[in-house]
């Protein structure tokens, strides 16, 4: 009884494996890759103008005694 059940399970597993193999073979044969198919999404064309490499983000610290405002500055400090 036990021997028959084990044999049945083995046959089922083998059949499932063979069926999967055959199925995938048939699917791949029916869907060949088309090298001329457009890419989705399309790849952006490279810019003719080189762009600046991203810079490391800066760090800023302002002591609590210095107030800040959302208004634009009347002037600014900068490299000269």
């Amino acid at each position: 009884m036990r021997l028959g059940r084990a044999l049945t399970l083995r046959l089922c597993a083998t059949a499932a494996t063979v069926a999967t193999l055959l199925g995938s073979t048939v699917y791949v044969a029916a869907h060949p890759k088309d090298p001329s198919a457009p890419l989705q999404p399309p790849v952006a064309k490279s810019s003719p103008v080189p762009t600046r490499a991203p810079q490391a983000s800066g760090r800023i610290r302002i002591e609590p005694g210095v107030r800040q405002t959302a208004l634009p500055g009347i002037t600014f400090t900068h490299v000269s």
Binding site: Q55, A56, G58, R59, I60, R61, I62, E63, G65, V66, R67, Q68, T69, A70, L71, P72, G73, I74, T75, F76, T77, H78, V79, S80
Partner: protein
């Protein structure tokens, strides 16, 4: 050099002036003053430009450089600036060094930036000796060691911004090519609004300055900021440092020192010394 540009008054009661000098744009703002006060401050800045430029052979600085090895008479203003240079050198551990002119010339910065650089000859670059071995200052006189020459660049701008701000009165703002000093409570009584890195801060009796290698650059590793430890253009992991300090001159010294130290050491150097900093 002094072509004045029209600029609208941005706050009621604020008189403003904008002109080119000291190798960049200068801006003056003041409340409750007359045009004559602005005229006087502008004249002082233009006179300082003629006195301290290294690009004119007859400037007082050029004559001091040309007389290296000899003790020469210096004006009160140049003497004050030379003393500031010695003090800045000491307080920065030798990093803010006015004696970089030979190194700047070797890097190709031999004429105004608008005229363009010349060929760099860096192979003979050496670490600079301490400034107090190159420069002696006594009342009314100064002496440079033979072969030495000074560039007062940013120090002169910061120093002059502080003095001109005082000259303009109790409520004024002076920006000399990015080195600025704000005095008094500003137009609304809360401080002068000034762009500082990505923020706007309200400055009352504070200075600000930025040091960096992003401008006056003419090659991969060629720019105007000389590291006196090598005699070469600095190689820092920072591109710009902005600082808020009690005066523009202090801010200039602290910003340049931090940039030469680099990101980690620069941050440690600035902490506790300044009212604000930005490292990029």
């Amino acid at each position: 050099m002094s072509a004045e540009l029209a600029r609208p008054t941005v706050w009621a009661g604020v008189l403003s002036r904008r002109f080119d000098a000291l190798g960049g744009e200068c801006e003056l703002y003041a409340l409750d003053v007359t045009d004559a006060v602005l005229d006087s401050a502008q004249a002082r800045i233009e006179a300082a430009h003629r006195r301290f430029t290294r690009f004119e052979s007859d400037s007082e600085l050029s004559r001091l450089n040309a007389a290296a090895g000899t003790r020469v008479a210096v004006s009160e203003e140049l003497e004050a600036l030379l003393r500031l240079a010695l003090d800045a050198h000491e307080r920065s551990g030798g990093l803010v060094h006015a004696g970089v002119l030979p190194a700047l010339l070797a890097a190709g910065y031999t004429r105004t930036f608008a005229d363009g650089p010349t060929v760099a000859t860096l192979e003979r670059s050496r670490p600079l000796p301490p400034l107090d071995e190159m420069l002696e200052v006594e009342p009314g006189r100064a002496r440079l060691a033979p072969g030495s020459a000074l560039d007062l660049g940013g120090l002169a701008k910061g120093w002059l911004a502080d003095r001109c701000c005082e000259q303009l009165g109790p409520n004024a703002l002076v920006n000399l090519g990015g080195d600025l000093r704000a005095g008094g409570p500003g137009p609304d009584g809360e401080g002068w609004p000034v762009g500082f890195a990505s923020r706007t801060v309200l400055l009352a009796d504070l200075g600000a300055a930025t040091s960096g290698t992003t401008r006056r650059r003419w090659g991969e590793e060629l720019h105007h900021l000389i590291d006196p430890r090598t005699g070469l253009p600095a190689r820092s992991d920072l591109e710009e440092v902005s600082v808020l300090a009690p005066t523009a001159a202090e801010a200039e010294v602290l910003a340049k020192t931090a940039l030469l130290l680099g990101r980690d050491a620069g941050e440690i150097w600035l902490d506790g010394k300044v009212s604000g900093w930005s490292l990029t």
